[in-house]
């Protein structure tokens, strides 16, 4: 049972650094709020229209902010001396992926705890009555984004031009969770929690499972030297 201990160690360490420096979270928060604002400015102060496309705006803000924070996934390791400090740990190197994935998931979920209410206020949407299904969709969608993102961030770590390579590889891969999360969110907000939304939730679950399995399996190959 050494693996869960090492996964927990990475999560604890990364959260401690995050809490101490607050570098990522505050900038992510500001950035995601700005994305919502920029969209609103670009589309115009037409509240009924904004309300109709709110789910899309919200998830685009999450994906863009996610791209920023995901690209910083291994930054603390690079500053500390590279991934090899972690790779020297005995046992399977997959604990690195699982720990980083959990950290990214927690960070993005924490952001959404603020971002969803902010969108409710900005676009005048009633979210509170749908809090539970929305939380479930947010969890599944964010898990998909983090699963693919944590993997591609490791893959592009030593590429030249990785700032552009991460979005280039990740955005096409994020089409299913984006479509699933946007449509499920919109359907729930329209008061249809058990109708078509279930279809999209199934898509999110399928994506999360497939990507989690494949990425976990391939991870050692992505970080070996």
């Amino acid at each position: 049972m050494a693996m869960p201990g090492r996964v927990a160690a990475i999560v604890w360490k990364d959260l401690l650094i995050e809490v101490r420096t607050k570098a990522s979270f505050h900038s992510m928060l500001a950035f995601s709020a700005l994305v919502l604002f920029v969209f609103s400015f670009a589309i115009g102060p037409d509240t009924p229209l904004l309300r109709r496309i709110a789910a899309g705006l919200l998830w685009v803000a999450i994906v863009f902010t996610g791209l920023l924070s995901l690209s910083r996934t291994y930054q603390s390791e690079e500053a500390a001396g590279g991934l090899e400090g972690l790779r020297m740990a005995p046992g399977d190197p997959r604990f690195i992926y699982l720990g980083k994935l959990a950290g990214n998931l927690l960070l993005l979920l924490a952001l959404e705890v603020v971002l969803f209410p902010a969108a409710a206020v900005l676009f005048q949407i009633e979210m509170l009555p749908h809090a539970l299904p929305l939380a479930g969709i947010a969890l599944l969608g964010t898990l998909g984004i983090s699963t693919a993102g944590t993997f591609y961030a490791a893959l592009t770590l030593h590429l030249r031009a990785r700032e552009i390579m991460l979005p280039l590889l990740l955005i096409p891969a994020l089409v299913p969770p984006l479509l699933g999360a946007v449509n499920a969110t919109q359907l729930v907000l329209d008061g249809n929690p058990f109708g078509d939304a279930a279809l999209w939730v199934r898509l999110l679950v399928a994506y999360d499972v497939v990507f989690f399995v494949v990425c976990t399996w391939l991870f050692p190959l992505a970080v070996e030297d």
């Binding site: 990785r162 096409p172 990507f211 990425c215």
Partner: protein, 222 residues
């Protein structure tokens, strides 16, 4: 060298012949479409090109898996070559699809599930080739791009499914009309021609890649 060149030669010649026959049949023998007229003949390029692009994509996947399992540089070179040739076919698919869509649907682009997935497929291919372009070390280049090749292949069915569902919410998906046997026959003939072209180009490209690698090694040690 001579033996390799002749092996490379005959599929090319065969591809040329089959393609000439297929094009002739598609352009002059098969009747024009009842509803859509002459423009429908584009389908004799479009459909086989799309099928060939998927074959190329599958070849990249197989080459990638083989590379990661056996660490054989040949598998890497074949996968990379298939990806380059695949980009050509997928671009041809998109271009002919748009040329056909304008007179038929009145628009260059529509969010048809197959069209959208094809465009995303092109993005995955481009990502695969970009990874190769931005990696310096040959071993890392092969390993990283193989991972992209596998993940790209895995994500295509999910992407397609999600786009189909996305479209069906807004409008019912257009059901394909049944296809007559001479149309299907022409498709298959042209598909065979495109497959030969694909195999021929991929083999040539892989051979060039092998020569490049040999040259690199020789220059590194001399």
């Amino acid at each position: 060298m001579g033996r390799g060149a002749s092996f490379i030669g005959w599929p090319g010649a065969l591809a040329l012949v089959v393609m000439a026959v297929g094009s002739f049949i598609g352009l002059f023998v098969v009747g024009a479409d009842v509803e859509m007229g002459e423009v429908q003949r584009l389908m004799y390029v479009h459909v086989p090109a799309a099928w060939t692009a998927f074959v190329a994509f599958f070849a990249v996947f197989i080459g990638s898996v083989l590379y990661l399992v056996q660490r054989d540089e040949r598998a890497d070179r074949v996968a990379a070559s298939a990806a380059e040739v695949g980009v050509v076919f997928i671009s041809l698919t998109l271009a002919t699809g748009m040329l056909w869509g304008k007179p038929t649907w009145g628009v260059w682009w529509t969010w048809d599930p197959r069209l959208t997935t094809t465009a995303l497929l092109l993005a995955v291919f481009v990502g695969y080739l970009a990874v190769r372009g931005f990696a310096d070390d040959p071993e890392r280049r092969a390993r990283w791009s193989a991972i992209v090749g596998i993940l790209g292949f895995v994500q295509v069915p999910i992407v397609y499914l999600s786009v189909v569902w996305w479209r069906s919410i807004h409008q019912p998906p257009s059901s394909p009309r049944s296809v007559s046997s001479d149309i299907l026959g022409t498709w298959m003939l042209n598909f065979a021609a495109f497959l030969l072209v694909f195999a021929w180009l991929t083999a040539r490209r892989a051979r060039a890649a092998r020569l490049e690698a040999e040259l690199e090694t020789r220059m590194a040690y001399d």
